[in-house]
Amino acid sequence: MTAYARFSLLFLSLFFTAPLFAEDMETASAETVISDIAEEKTLQDYLAELTEAGFREKEELVLKVVETDEPETLPVMQALLEGDLYYVKDGNTLVYKTSGDPVTVFGGETMTGLGSRDIKKISVNNSLRTLLRAQISRVELFSKNPQTRKTAAINLLKSADELDPALLDEALSQEADAGIKEILLLVEGIRQLESDDSAVRLEGITALTGSLYPEVRGALSNFANRAEADGNGKELAAAEAALSKINAMLRFNSIFENLYFGLALGAVLLLAAIGLAITFGVMGVINMAHGEMIMLGAYTTYVVQQLMPANPGASLIVSIPAAFLVAGLVGVAIERGIIRHLYGRPLETLLATFGLSLILQQAVRSIFGPLNRSVVTPEWMAGTFEVNPALALTYNRLYIIIFSLLVLAMLALVLKRTLFGLQMRAVTMNRPMASSMGIRTGWVDALTFGLGSGIAGIAGVALSQLTNVGPNMGQSYIIDSFMVVVFGGVGNLWGTLVGAMSLGVVNKILEPWAGAVVAKILVLVFIILFIQKRPRGLFALKGRSVDMG
């Protein structure tokens, strides 16, 4: 279906006067292809055609561009791939544009005074991106930077069968880095599977055995299918042996992976629950507005990021104290305004805080609108840490695990080592006594509630990296948070940690086996049954009963 493809040569004559004709879908026709005169053309000509071409034509143009092999070729293709290649509508000058003013491709001049409507991106689609990546990889295979070469080699795994063997041989002979060479050998191995010679094919299988690259597994299973279809028993057996070895390694991987997923989920639960462990666990406030404190933290992150759009990484760091302050101050205000009138009536705190949560949700909806807000992930949080080619740990989860533990550690430190922590414990243990010792219990209460809320705000910063930032986001965490705190044992930070992590891991171990929903149901049933066994949670304070009244 290329009827809607936009392009091109028909209008080459109108090139300079009417670039917008390119948008005219009706006149485009699928059968029109690049004309023969293209042979004579230079890089510049091809690129000029790019501004007008449809996606199919662009693919052919890219292949022609590759052949030009001029100094600009590689940067242009990279810019095209990244979506940084634009043209000025008036005059069709090709420019690179990232964040600042556009820079011309030929000549490198900076063009000023152009608005966003004056230039237009040269769009690419998925197949073009695939093509570009493959083509660029072929060039980058000879880059000086080993990291670039490695990426290029890995990219070539995907298109190994289309590769020029001479190019691969050359790369292999030049490659000094053992790791990259290994990958190139895999590329060669995949190619060997396509060979007409059975011996070479078997050689290929041997070369591929034990590699965890998904492409290798893909090539081998395709090969096995072919061998089965052809009735080639020997090769099938060899391929299946290689595959089963890979699968065994993958199974081992997946155990580790599930554990990691579990800890990552546990970290999210922990972050969500720590604040509640203070407001509910320590102070006994059934704080239904806890989720909204998380939400406030996430919105703070959004606002901070709007204030410093150029630097998402730094803004995230700034957001942490900012979110703590915002949510914390709101928490103090709530405590002073409402909660303090309700001490000794814990169930009524449920009512009041539920009302508050409705108000806060609607307030955020009125201020920011009902839509989710986009919070940008800084680059250092994106990507994965590759343990092996089939096991990659996502950085953001890794950071969140570390972050959650840090927050917990900081909190423990505050409670154990500071005067405020001491006063807080004194007030919760024996209010009249603390009061008679000159502690201003009112302020300790307010600050404690503020602390719990502030920590919920910090959780919001972290969660903004994982999920929606919207008026309802708090609702999705409130129930889980209560489960964690109660499961761990009310009033026990250590219990909150162990509770969150074990619920996370149990959930993730069950999930591949039972599915996401059933896993969650099972976890809930598990909590219900567990509480029967230990009615005061995992880490209950034992001892002579003091609850007689």
Binding site: G543, R544, S545, M548
Partner: protein, 254 residues
């Protein structure tokens, strides 16, 4: 061991033998042994943390002992029962802090405590018979609260709540009463009245009274057991106990 060995052949209402309980490594009761004879009144004293309340918890089924046996009327092993069952077997307990049902009236509190009709069904179909009413009136007189029968228990004074609770114990008609610091918070006059009441009760019931107030114990005029660190330190008349060197060192001396 030597103490109870002498009496092993006599009938007992309560018989604790080698009872131990520990919480997180802390031995609240350490091989505690003691017995109470039918119709006996016994005062238990001991410093804080001696295990008095834990002992009551263990007897009434609230806490399960790690080891040891507790025999009621020489045949029923109380460690096998929970609170409600122990109460229905005939062991009544009064707490240190008065625990009456504050949002019910004095009358209702007593009505609830009357023996029998503990099942859900019985409670649903309960009728206040003349017989029961008479019994309640009797208790009201005994605890001197006839005039306040229809007041909320929550509106009573501290001492009155203590009395009401004792009255509720009587309604249960237990054979053994465990009473934790009944004199706490009472005026001297009330204390003496309470002592008189107890002495009267001791004719029909066995009583175990935990108390700090020496005047009160003096007034009770009964055998005294001194607990310390979860086991019996000394036993005998108040005077004998007071003279005991070990007791002086660990408790009275301070």
């Amino acid at each position: 061991m030597s103490i109870q060995a002498k009496h092993i052949e006599q009938p007992t209402v309560l018989y604790l033998n080698g009872v131990s309980v520990s919480f997180d490594g802390f031995k609240a009761l350490n091989s505690l042994s003691l017995y109470i004879a039918p119709g006996e009144m016994r005062a238990i004293i001991g410093p804080n943390g001696a295990g008095k309340t834990t002992m009551m918890d263990v007897i009434t089924g609230k806490t399960k002992p790690d080891e040891g046996t507790i025999l009621f009327k020489d045949e029923i092993d109380l460690t096998k029962y929970d609170e409600a069952a122990v109460a229905n077997l005939g062991v009544g307990r009064k707490f240190q802090k008065p625990s009456v049902i504050e949002s019910l009236t004095v009358f209702e509190n007593l009505e609830m405590s009357l023996k029998g009709g503990r099942s859900v069904w019985a409670a649903l179909n309960h009728r206040l018979t003349a017989e029961k009413k008479a019994k309640i009136d009797e208790i009201l007189t005994m605890i001197d609260m006839t005039g306040r029968a229809h007041d909320m228990a929550g509106s009573l004074s501290h001492g009155q709540k203590q009395w009401l609770e004792i009255g509720m114990l009587l309604g249960q008609e237990p054979q053994l009463l465990l009473i934790d610091e009944p004199a706490a918070g009472m005026t001297d006059e009330e204390t003496m009245k309470t002592a008189e009441l107890f002495k009267m009760l001791a004719k029909k019931h066995s009583l175990m009274v935990v108390e700090h107030d020496m005047d009160f114990i003096e007034a009770l005029d009964c055998k005294v057991t001194v607990l310390c660190e979860g086991s019996v330190l000394a036993e005998g008349s108040l005077a004998a106990v007071k003279a005991n060197q070990k007791v002086i060192e660990t408790y009275l001396g301070r």
